[in-house]
Subunit: 230 residues, 2 copies
């Protein structure tokens, strides 16, 4: 096992990348090809270089381990338990992102640190390396809280979607069943959905109407209506 270098490795980045695909919420995992935790599934994560800001390190690491680029990631928590890394004290800054899934299920890492990168359903995750299960859970909680006051769901859905898809995404993230009539009424009342003159294609059941997200209205609504105390 390598001994940790002294200066450029006492902190790392780990990424929780959420995607929504075929009615399932997924995250991106890598299969590690290095010690410690060789052959384990893990969040895409690695050590920050000495001359690298955290944001740039996150971009580089995600790219090297999964081939993914130009993903808007945000920091959400820093994990610093004394014994979280078997080789010494390493604190890790966790980032998350939500993206639309429409590419292949398996991605090609650029570095040999990861053998492969795969989209895994959140409801069926394997045991993860380090404290990565805890990091994932905190990230999941983050988007679960956020979906209640920000329309982040739209970042996960395709450009055009049905109300059923939208409701299903909320149900998956909130982990509960929502009343269809109430949900639709509330969503349409916000005025942030644009009804399209278009229906689903290629479905065997009755095609549903497609909607788009009205970004202009969204910005306005979320600055005013949902604010407490104004």
């Amino acid at each position: 096992m390598e001994v940790l270098p002294k200066f450029d490795s006492v902190f790392s980045i780990d990424c929780v990348i959420f995607g929504f695909d075929e009615g399932e919420l997924k995250i991106l995992l890598i299969e590690r090809n290095v010690e410690p935790f060789k052959d384990w599934w893990a969040l895409p994560g690695y050590l920050v270089k000495e001359n690298e800001s955290l944001d740039l390190a996150a971009e580089r690491i995600l790219y090297e381990l999964t081939g993914l680029r130009d993903i808007f990631m945000e920091q959400f928590y820093t994990f610093g338990d004394v014994d979280r890394h078997p080789q010494g004290r390493v604190i890790t800054v966790a980032y998350y992102a939500m993206i639309r899934l429409n590419g292949p299920k398996e991605l090609k890492p650029v570095t040999s640190v990861a053998r492969k990168a795969v989209w895994y359903p959140v409801k069926d995750l394997p045991k993860l390396a380090f404290d990565h299960t805890k990091i994932f859970q905190k990230g999941f909680l983050k988007i679960r809280n956020k979906i209640s006051y920000q329309p982040i769901a739209f970042e996960l859905l395709p450009e055009k979607f049905t109300l059923t898809q939208l409701q299903h995404l909320y149900e998956v993230i909130l982990n509960k069943t929502l009343d269809k009539r109430n949900f639709r009424k509330k969503m349409l009342n916000y005025g942030i959905l644009k009804e399209l003159d278009e229906k689903q294609k290629g479905v065997s059941y009755r095609a549903a109407k497609l909607y788009k997200f009205d970004r202009r209205k969204y910005a306005k609504i979320f600055q005013n209506e949902l604010s407490f105390g104004k």
Copy 2:
């Protein structure tokens, strides 16, 4: 100037502690008694020890630098710009807290790292050491955003308060004037305020009614009414 030790000093904690006092939002600053930035005003912050979790380090550091104890702090962001510390690469995990101010304006540090700790009005901050102005601003933004969807204001107010005090706090944090009638109507409609059979004492003008925060109702309201998508 000391050379940084190799392992237990590459990360630090900085604390943004908000208090509300005499109609002013304040934060706690220390006057540094050590290099670098000796004699400068700074956020209470210092290096994390090798065998210390981040949360415990935050508690210890706040106590040592300001004498404050048993404050509920939450992590809000980690700052890792390459050049943020003149002695080398130090990333800092920032914590914040909101507390009721009712003690002395100047606090007594336990360690000689800080000469004194003082409550400073946010609208009139001095130039701060390191990137602490940036850290403060991010913390301020955090509570500004949070006040729109969580009743954090109550953490800053005394147990019993008038609606005018409540409105003033919102105005200070949001940095804008709010319409009195709308504000009161909205606040009372939430049903989270308990009107007391008691009025202000010791004021020269007409005494206003006092209110308390109804914690039971609050929990209910904030789980249901303000949620998007349920």
